[in-house]
């Protein structure tokens, strides 16, 4: 009886090991199953999901106009002090002073892509961009100004 157990032990052990080898062997002879993505080579075909959060961007239209009123809702919503909004006072044709965005400072190096600023924005002035290739040689290069030079607020955005 002992010998029978001993032999069946060996048989089952060998069988289980061969089953495992069959699985790896299967993949060895089926190169089609390879899932490697050759990243820098596939940049042309690489499409990020449209909701992917890579960085905060401020879309500008053809007239170099954005929708940011400088209300600082995003600045307040940000948990990491990533956003700093510097406002200025524009003078409207009627002669009234109006608060407007001067510079939208964005610290990419502090950003955790939590999307809270985008959620907080009442005018949809900012959104999440899909660019993920952020590496630079100097940390200061991660400090960005989101509003383009000379841009102004779009008509009708309050």
């Amino acid at each position: 009886m002992f010998l029978k157990e001993y032999l069946s032990d060996i048989y089952h052990a060998t069988k289980s090991l061969l089953t495992g080898m069959k699985r790896t062997g299967y993949y060895f002879v089926h190169p089609k199953e390879i899932i490697t993505e050759q990243y820098p080579d596939n940049r042309e075909t690489l499409k990020m999901a449209d909701r992917f959060r890579g960085e905060v961007i401020m879309p500008h239209d053809a007239n170099n106009e954005h929708a940011c009123t400088g209300c600082t809702a995003c600045e307040l919503a940000c948990p990491n002090a990533t956003i700093k909004i510097i406002t200025k006072f524009d003078v409207t044709p009627e002669g009234k002073k109006k608060k407007a965005l001067d510079t939208f400072v964005y610290h990419l190096e502090l950003c955790t892509m939590c999307n809270l600023c985008v959620e907080a924005c009442p005018t949809d002035a900012i959104k999440m961009g899909q660019n993920f290739e952020h590496s630079v040689y100097d940390r200061s290069m991660l400090l960005k100004k989101l509003n383009k030079p000379g841009s102004k607020i779009r008509e009708g955005v309050e």
């Binding site: 999901a49 955790t112 892509m113 939590c114 999307n115 809270l116 959620e119």
Partner: protein, 381 residues
């Protein structure tokens, strides 16, 4: 904070009690098997483990203190950084605590989405654990097979939540955005892929005689000890403790879903392994029940811009992939929590490690640690 010399100072090891013939080795903070920066001071007698003493804190960010200065909308994203493999579930627990305190009714659609996301996260987490466990035992190949499936989940997450690991998708009152139009199809594709591939796991690892001999009878934890050490999740369920929060204190729509709480009674590493493998299948069952029945409606309840919790104490428990996560908020009525405590599952599970591995071999220490499924940021917080 520290001067250069202090950092360079030799780490102090409890050399006072190392008797003749005992060897004290530092496993970690940089070690292939500790999955992060866990530092174990192991006292050995030859190959036999005499004592294991975890030293924590290498990745302590004091999230609890940080949260005290963050608003109730902001603090959720930080919790993704605790147990990063169950980021969704952590966010979920926090959102639920806020909802409970403010009595916000979450729309049914949001509840469905949340539960599906939770279960996907659970599968992804268990996949990673499976691969990492096999790697701890010296088999590299399973890791890649596990990641193949996990990648599909990450793609689904990326498409709907916008991020792959730290999603911050749950907000008080629901979820941040509606599901992506192709979400349901992608999840169904994943289920199909997963069902065809889960057998490979058994072929490659579960059935293997080497794996079984490494796992069976190793790192035993009795039911009483599991409860006393506060173990939860698959660790406790492997010892026969009924502790699935989804079953005993159902939240969201878990009450309406049919699934089994997986219980194994042996209490060794292999039963913990089986619990997790079976749990993945149960999670698939839950997703299958929900994915086609997501009701129409809002994905987010209307909430005020600034959330203020009433004065009081609020505690929520959820089941993460590693066990019971508790969020304990003490509010003074302001916009930020007065004190917040995260009862992390890994912390309690780790405390049982010493008890489990005393007297076994170094290889068993690795196997047991692998089945505890430790995520160090979750332990350190």
């Amino acid at each position: 904070m520290y001067s250069q010399t202090e950092i360079l100072k030799e780490p102090e090891i409890n050399s006072s009690n190392s008797a003749e013939g005992e060897l004290v080795i530092n496993i970690g903070p940089q070690h292939p098997a500790t999955h992060g920066v866990l530092h174990l001071v192991v006292t050995l007698n030859g190959e036999t483990v005499k004592k294991v003493e975890p030293h924590l804190g290498y990745i302590h960010r004091s999230i609890e203190k940080m949260c005290e200065s963050l608003s109730y909308r902001q603090f959720i994203y930080v919790t993704s950084r605790m147990d990063y493999l169950s980021a969704h579930v952590n966010n979920h627990a926090c959102a639920m605590t806020v909802e409970k305190a403010m009595q916000i009714e979450v729309p049914t659609r949001a509840q469905y989405i949340r539960v599906i996301m939770d279960e996907l996260t659970r599968i992804a987490s268990h996949e990673l654990w499976w691969g990492a466990l096999a790697m701890d035992l010296g088999a590299f190949t399973p890791f890649f097979y596990a990641f193949r499936e996990r990648e599909t989940i990450n793609d689904i997450m990326e498409q709907t939540c916008g991020a792959r690991l730290t999603m911050n998708y749950m907000v008080p009152g629901g979820v941040m955005a509606d599901i992506h139009p192709s979400f349901q199809q992608k999840v169904k594709d994943f289920i199909k892929l997963f069902k065809s591939n889960i057998d490979e796991y058994d072929e490659l690892v579960t059935g293997s005689v080497i794996f079984q001999s490494r796992m069976k009878g190793v790192g035993c934890l009795s039911k009483e000890d599991a409860i006393s050490y506060g173990c939860t999740g698959p660790v406790a369920r492997g010892s026969g403790v009924h502790c699935d929060i989804r079953k005993i204190y159902p939240y969201e729509i878990y009450k309406q879903v049919e699934f089994n709480e997986i219980i194994e009674t042996a209490g060794d590493s292999f039963s913990r392994y089986l619990v997790r493998i079976k749990e993945m299948k149960e999670s698939i069952k839950i997703i299958e029940q929900l994915i086609d029945n997501i009701p129409e409606g809002d994905y987010q309840a209307k909430t005020k811009a600034v959330l203020k919790l009433p004065k009081g104490e609020f505690y929520t428990r959820v089941e993460t992939a590693r066990g019971e996560l508790g969020v304990y908020i003490v509010s003074e009525g302001g916009t930020t929590p007065y004190r917040i405590k995260f009862r992390s599952p890994g912390f309690s599970n780790l405390s049982a490690l010493d008890h489990m591995v005393r007297g076994s071999k170094i290889g068993d220490l690795m196997a047991t640690m692998g089945t505890l499924d430790l995520v160090i940021p979750d332990i350190d917080r």
